[in-house]
């Protein structure tokens, strides 16, 4: 119980005092129990006022402080800092909002406003009277970061962290790094190839002593919290030893009887179960795909570097924070969506990009030379009917860029773009202009009237009711239909379950605040980057990766980490362990422990968010929230319910 309370009523230069009789408030609250000092001030937030307050507190040995002024969103931290500078604990300060909640909304009723202001300040005094000093929790940190996903975002984040002196564990599920950009040939707007970018980043990573790269590796378990996570990794072997004779390996690949669709080329080509790296894939070592391998042993006979008996390994690491950059999957159209799967010259944009990259002099599909291409945009994005309402951001630009490159590589191809409105934002607009000028045709379908793909007498026809031609029905005879598929989240449910990262309505990982906290998740110590967070192009992915790297660095740059102490507390005498609190906790902060031979709940302070969800479910009322105890809140309600 605080008995020396100081109260300041702010005029806010007339914003408050024009409608609230601040002198009357001052006098009314001066009579409250424990109030030693009650004053008014013209601008409480002014430097001079702050210094006066500090002097007052020190001179009068004030134990607790209330400032009645504007919204706590504006100046709560200001006056908490005043309290701390005067030698108080910041939780012995309570803020009373008499501007947004009183003077502004009640400017028509001065008497009523004054009465309400008195009540609000009294309630704040009631709370501060019972306030306790709370000290932040200190955690010892692991000065290392786990980066999940070795795509462009993950790799860039890893090198950036390493340069700041932080150890990085870079984990990639696939046996080759590079993620999605390794698939792409030239990239706009620099005309560099995906291979060039991947090579550059890979060379940085393998020569960097701070970075440990794990390929074929997945996160399978994670425990702990910000500052100290224990992560368990499962490492799948390559079954091919690093030092390998190239000729023998080539023969071994030759004899492999298993032929499967090649995911690197988005299934337009095939590969063997033992396959060599692609031109843009690193590390440059072959791998056996055990999902498809029949273990016939033919390759082992030819090449002594192959060992089908290599075993999976589990690795446990401790890191201070986890950066998730798991990227995206291209949307796979439904069967018969715009003729996909049904008409054989309907392919997706990733397939088309691989086709162009793999073709030399002529563009040929199904043994037929391609003379005209129709691109249907927004497949799997901005769906009027389906789940994916969002725009995938990169597809308009990449399609137009691909079309320009296709025109440069293969002369005389007519190209039609059936868009839903072109979104080549920023500098990329220049590409749109270039495509237009070169005679590529852009049509636009309405959201509720999508184009149709039909096949008649071996001729594929795209029918569009073109918005730009007064919704006239336009028929395009075409040799190839390219479905411009957008981005969907990677199919890796495990990671979001293991780390409990919340997802947004679009099923991508969600940040805390799109603008103000764009790479943090509500799981403390877990950051997100790249297209795992939502559709992004390479530039945007790298921007977010660098931002997540800096944020991660801020968690682990010191030996110890201070955590906000506003958490739930269990009274083990009252707790009878029913488990309800553990069930309702979204953050896995509550666990069962043995205490004096009795099962009780325990709160992990570094994980608890202080949300208060566990409080009402506790049957024995054993849980209290620090700084919001039952006593404090009930005391405030009593005051508010009883006018003087």
């Amino acid at each position: 119980m605080k008995t020396k309370i100081g109260v300041y009523i702010c005029h806010c230069g007339g914003n408050i005092s024009d409608y609230v009789d601040v002198e009357k408030v001052k006098e009314a609250v001066a009579k409250e129990d424990g109030v030693l000092m009650s004053r008014t001030t013209v601008f409480a937030c002014a430097d001079s006022s702050q210094n006066e307050m500090i002097a007052d507190i020190k001179e009068n040995n004030i134990e607790a402080l209330v400032v009645a002024s504007c919204s706590p969103k504006l100046h709560l931290p200001t006056f908490q800092a005043v309290a701390e500078r005067a030698g108080l604990n910041k939780f012995n300060y309570v803020h009373a909002n008499i501007r947004e909640q009183v003077s502004w909304p009640h400017s028509d009723d001065k008497e009523g406003a004054t009465a309400k202001a008195i009540q609000i300040v009294r309630a704040a005094i009631a709370k501060v009277r019972l306030s306790e000093a709370i000290e932040p929790v200190e955690i010892k940190t692991q000065q290392s970061v786990l980066v999940i996903g070795a795509g462009v975002a993950g790799m860039k984040a890893a090198t950036s962290l390493s340069k700041m002196g932080i150890k990085v564990h870079l984990v990639e599920k696939e046996h080759f790094i590079g993620g999605r950009i390794s698939h792409w040939d030239v990239l706009c707007t620099t005309d560099e190839t995906g291979k060039e970018l991947v090579t550059r980043l890979y060379n940085e990573i393998i020569t960097d002593k701070n970075i440990t790269l794990y390929t074929g590796t997945e996160l399978v378990e994670s425990a702990g919290s910000k500052g100290d996570f224990k992560a368990k990794l499962k490492v799948t072997p390559r079954y091919v030893k690093d030092m390998c004779d190239k000729d023998a390996l080539a023969k071994a690949i030759d004899v492999c009887p298993v032929e499967v669709k090649d995911e690197f080329n988005f299934n337009i080509t095939t590969r063997k179960a033992i396959y060599h790296n692609f031109p843009s894939e690193y590390p440059q070592a072959a791998v056996i795909d055990m999902k498809n391998c029949t273990r016939c042993g033919e390759c082992e006979k030819i090449c002594k570097f192959i060992d089908l008996n290599q075993q999976e390994e589990n690795v446990e690491i401790r890191v201070g924070t986890i950066l998730v950059a798991t990227g995206f999957d291209p949307y796979t159209p439904q069967s018969s969506e715009f003729g996909y799967d049904v008409i054989d010259n309907v392919i997706t944009l990733p397939q088309f990009k691989r086709l162009v990259a793999n073709s030399d002099k002529e563009l040929v599909w199904n043994n037929k030379k391609i003379n005209s291409i129709s691109y249907i945009y927004c497949v799997g994005s901005r769906q009027p009917e389906g789940e994916n309402k969002y725009c995938s951001r990169y597809c308009c630009t990449t399609t137009i860029y691909s079309a320009i490159k296709t025109a440069e590589k293969f002369a005389g191809i007519n190209q039609y773009h059936i868009t839903r409105g072109v979104r080549t934002y920023g500098k990329q607009e220049a590409l749109y202009f270039k495509a237009l000028k070169s005679g590529q045709v852009f049509l636009q379908s309405a959201d509720d009237d999508l184009p149709k793909v039909e096949s008649k007498n071996n001729q594929t026809i795209v029918k569009v009711n073109d918005v730009l031609t007064n919704k006239q029905n336009i028929e395009i005879e075409t040799d190839l239909v390219v479905l411009v598929t957008g981005m969907v989240p990677r199919k890796n449910a495990n990671i979001s379950e293991i780390l409990k990262i919340p997802k947004g309505r679009d099923s991508f990982y969600n940040e805390i605040h799109m603008k103000l906290r764009p790479v943090e998740t509500v799981i403390d110590g877990v950051t997100i980057a790249g297209a795992s967070q939502g559709p992004k192009n390479v530039v945007e992915s790298i921007n977010s990766a660098l931002s997540a790297a800096i944020k991660s660095y801020s968690f682990v740059c010191n030996d110890t980490l201070m955590v906000e102490p506003l958490v739930a507390e269990i009274d083990s005498d009252l707790c009878t362990w029913c488990g309800d609190c553990q069930d309702i906790c979204e953050f896995d902060a509550i666990s069962k422990v043995q205490l004096d031979g009795k099962d009780v709940a325990q709160v992990n302070f570094s994980v608890c968010k202080g949300c208060g969800h566990c409080l009402p479910v506790c049957k024995t009322n054993a849980i209290q929230l620090k700084n919001f105890s039952d006593d404090e809140v009930e005391h405030m309600i009593d005051v508010l319910a009883n006018e003087i």
């Binding site: 007519n414 039609y416 072109v422 749109y432 202009f433 237009l436 000028k437 070169s438 005679g439 590529q440 045709v441 852009f442 049509l443 636009q444 073109d466 730009l468 031609t469 007064n470 006239q472 029905n473 336009i474 028929e475 395009i476 005879e477």
Partner: protein, 354 residues
């Protein structure tokens, strides 16, 4: 239903169209056009049809003729797609579509064809003269006959069938409408627009457009007067003072105004004169020489020196024959007819739709 055909756009480029592919369909051109309204909207939809290559939509449209090329669409186009010049090219394209002989298209697409045509005519006229079939007097006599027969023949065998084709494409194929009363009632439109070109007055807001309209009107009236004076009043042989002076006056107007037009095309100060197709040059230059050579011929007659300087008449008759056999039936001259008939047909189509 309309099929796309990207060859159409490439073809239009031979008729002088440039950069129209850059259009991103903002519609600024239509918004700034003083002649477009909510019922008859252009030029964006014509640019669109050209980009998509829906040539049947262009063929059946009167809109290119309803544009009088103030050039504001081109000035304001954010993509620099030059819609005004496209409309001009579409008029050339339509002229060749209407022409049953197909020669208009040949001339428009190949400047060489024009030159060959002109050379053949020079050879023919000089051939006739030097083969001594005619003496000077007879040459002038037959020259006069030629004018009459050329006018009648070109009109009967080329221009009339072409106007009927224009009617078929733009009226009959689109609205299938025939009603004597309406066709007769709308004739007023034809006559008014043919003899006043008053639509130019509401085209564009610049003062220069009004000045241009007056010049053009004087030129049209002067040209038709010269036709009457030389063909029916036989200016070169007349003794009537009034006819003679009238001849001088109108031929002066013709060469003076066409001279101004040529200067404008050289200076390229406004949109409409910036892009000159060979057919535009031939039109103004030949018209200039027509007026100027007629003027000189009559001076030579009045000074009584023509006999010794008969080359003057030969020059005049070569220009005249080239004009009458190439530029009138297959060149830019036809815009005089198609523009006014377009107003007539448009009125009929509007009434049919009601």
């Amino acid at each position: 239903m309309a099929k796309t055909d990207l060859k159409f756009g490439k073809k239009l480029k031979k008729y002088g169209a440039i950069d129209f592919n850059a259009c991103y369909n903002c519609g600024t051109c239509t918004a700034v056009c003083d002649l477009a309204n909510k019922d008859v909207s252009f030029p964006r939809n014509m640019v669109r049809a050209s980009v998509l290559g829906t040539s049947e939509d262009v063929k059946s449209s009167l809109k290119p003729w309803l544009c009088y090329y103030c050039g504001e669409c081109t000035t304001f186009c954010p993509q620099e797609a030059k819609p005004g010049e496209l409309m001009m090219s579409l008029r050339r394209y339509l002229t060749s579509r209407y022409d049953w002989t197909g020669l208009s298209g040949v001339f428009y697409r190949n400047t060489v064809a024009y030159i060959i045509g002109f050379l053949l005519i020079i050879a023919g006229v000089l051939g006739l003269y030097f083969s001594n079939i005619f003496d000077q007097e007879e040459m002038m006599h037959y020259g006069h006959y030629f004018e009459m027969f050329a006018i009648a023949g070109v009109f009967a065998f080329i221009l009339l069938p072409n106007i009927i084709r224009m009617w078929k494409y733009t009226v009959w194929d689109t609205v299938k409408f025939f009603n004597i009363k309406v066709y007769f009632g709308s004739l007023k439109e034809l006559l008014v627009h043919m003899f006043t070109q008053k639509r130019t007055l509401s085209c564009g807001t610049e003062r220069e457009n009004k000045v241009w309209w007056i010049q053009h009107l004087v030129l049209v009236i002067g040209y038709m007067s010269l036709l009457v004076i030389t063909v029916f009043l036989d200016w070169f042989s007349t003794d009537y003072m009034v006819v003679n002076l009238a001849g001088y006056l109108v031929s002066f107007f013709i060469f003076a105004i066409t001279f101004l037009f040529i200067i404008k095309r050289v200076k390229k100060k406004d949109e409409k004169t910036t892009f000159s197709h060979p057919s535009d040059w031939f039109f103004v230059i030949w018209l200039f020489f027509m007026g100027f050579s007629a003027f000189l011929v009559r001076i030579f007659v009045d000074l009584d020196i023509l006999e010794n300087n008969f080359w003057m008449y030969l020059f005049h008759i070569i220009i005249l024959v080239q004009w009458a056999l190439i530029i009138v039936p297959f060149g830019k001259w036809t815009h005089f007819l198609y523009r006014s008939f377009a107003m007539y047909f448009d009125d009929i189509v509007t009434k049919a739709n009601k």
